[in-house]
Symmetry: C2
Subunit: 384 residues, 2 copies
Amino acid sequence: MSITAAQGFLAAGVAAGIKSNGRPDLALVVNQGPRFDAAGVFTSNRVFAAPVAWSRQAIADGQLQAVVLNSGGANACTGRPGYLDSVATADRVASVVGCEPGAVGVCSTGLIGVRLPMEALLSGVDLAQRALTADGGDDAARAIMTTDTVPKQASAQGAGGYTIGGMAKGAGMLAPGLATMLVVLTTDAVVDSPVLQASLEQATSLTFDRIDSDGCMSTNDTVLLLASGASGISPEPGEFTANLARVCWSLARQLIADAEGATHDIAIEVVGAASEDDALEVARSIGRSNLFKCAIFGNDPNWGRVLSATGVTRAAFDPDQLDVSINGVQVCRGGGLGDDRALVDLTPRECHVLVDLHAGQAAATIWTNDLTYDYVKENAEYSS
Amino acid sequence: MSITAAQGFLAAGVAAGIKSNGRPDLALVVNQGPRFDAAGVFTSNRVFAAPVAWSRQAIADGQLQAVVLNSGGANACTGRPGYLDSVATADRVASVVGCEPGAVGVCSTGLIGVRLPMEALLSGVDLAQRALTADGGDDAARAIMTTDTVPKQASAQGAGGYTIGGMAKGAGMLAPGLATMLVVLTTDAVVDSPVLQASLEQATSLTFDRIDSDGCMSTNDTVLLLASGASGISPEPGEFTANLARVCWSLARQLIADAEGATHDIAIEVVGAASEDDALEVARSIGRSNLFKCAIFGNDPNWGRVLSATGVTRAAFDPDQLDVSINGVQVCRGGGLGDDRALVDLTPRECHVLVDLHAGQAAATIWTNDLTYDYVKENAEYSS
């Protein structure tokens, strides 16, 4: 179930003293080969963190041998000094692992605008190197948690017996483009880096890009995929991508399930759209309506807020043709009143909103969360 | 200070029994002439309410003699029957006031997706007609309140002695395009309806369009401006527009001050932009960041959330050139750490965030609110 489920990978998670509370805060993942193909996707936020700048360069040749991740500080908006901190981190990992600095991906998560405590971090790299084991995936997944309450891990077996494993962190600043988080994926399949990159882009566009907990896109989003080739199996690309998407979706769903303060996980499914882009635009608009999200928190099947969020999009639809069902009850029919809203049971954590635009055959689903007291509390208190 | 401050207007506010709590819920405004020029701007939401559909038609000829407004129900997403309810309302007003139905604007506010109690509403029209007085503006302003805690009114005197008065309601679903609310403005100036319309569009684009409390655009937004000509004064259009914008800004500022659950009124001023559109896009993006809004609630000058919201825009800027000041303290300089954030005092209700993009000479300001427990509470409980 972890990033060490695939052959050829070692991992560790240690407490380096970056977090003031003494919890694990540094993870190291090492690919032992024989191959070092790698792929990555990064935040599209134009204000991106130093480790994102570094990792984009490091992965440009399609090869990585190690990834180091720290919680306790995002190293974002820290200027040239912050960038040099990421370089120094990669350099230390390279020296203890025995590779080039350019073969080391760096990820950071935590507060924006604060320099990392580099002495603690570099000592932590040494500590993590000594702790590397072939079953260290769990420890690594715990070391990257910030406001996460549980570690997030997933794995899948592919045809012939290759494995894909993954871990993720992320609970706030969860929005598409891609969804905000750090993710490391590993596989022992034999996949050339251009194919690996294409598979990763396709898998993330259908998974992490379709969750939007709070509409806020982070400066540090990173998904890295390392392929050791240790299984000796060369999968068919379509089959590999499908398995990769399964692992990514499991992690994405775990992110939504652990989103800050949430009491509902909400699937917003838009059908009957003229195009997939239309379906996505409508689903995202609903998923970003604070009023809709508050209503779901209040177990209130407020379909008027679904319609008003639909109405601000450019998607093709006739307002008098809109149907909305919430948890199986068609509360809005033809843009007006449908079945009795009292029939809707919103007590389960998982909630399903179905919008039919009656404008075509395309469909898409976005997952989001409700807006709660605890979301406000966590994010009012997080950095003070 | 009210809509009856201008000569030629009568108004009333009564309890018609539309609201279940017995509070005033129906307002009537009548223009006694001698002129009946009128202008209107409406929600750009494609899912718009029946009274919006009606009022758009009614004002197409640039003439209105009366406006009837009800709280206690939005008459939105009510289909053809709901539209006929708006027609019946205009018809009853026309018969008691003595004009054509097409000279009556209709506005509704309250829950979406519920039919209005028409018997109560039509009796209320009769009641309101009998209560019309030349100082009924206050009563009218109270009758249109929903979750508003105070009535909102404003007035201004123009050159030569003409008057502009106004009232507004709105506390949630406050977002631009235009900001969500009902507003009635009156003037005794002599202004032809095409000039009136141009003045109104310009005034609203600089005022109501620049407040965004919660990013949610309503189905019922309406601003109507009635000109009686009773002062006999024909103002210079630029001077008239400036005074109209003053009244609109006063009302807009009152809307922000009474936004649901808010504890801070936040001015987000973006300067050094390559264009006004860029400045507006950045200011709106910051104003819609739930994480930023939670931070301000927590009295936390979290400039990292300002930068991450800036980074998702298409505006021209270099991330390493961004400056951010919060309440006068430059907490971010050149995209990195600035002065000590502990120097920022966020205890006053009014908060000023200044972002310098260093990309040009244009500037714009958007006003928003913080995101609080009480916002969530009000909107989780509003309709259940």
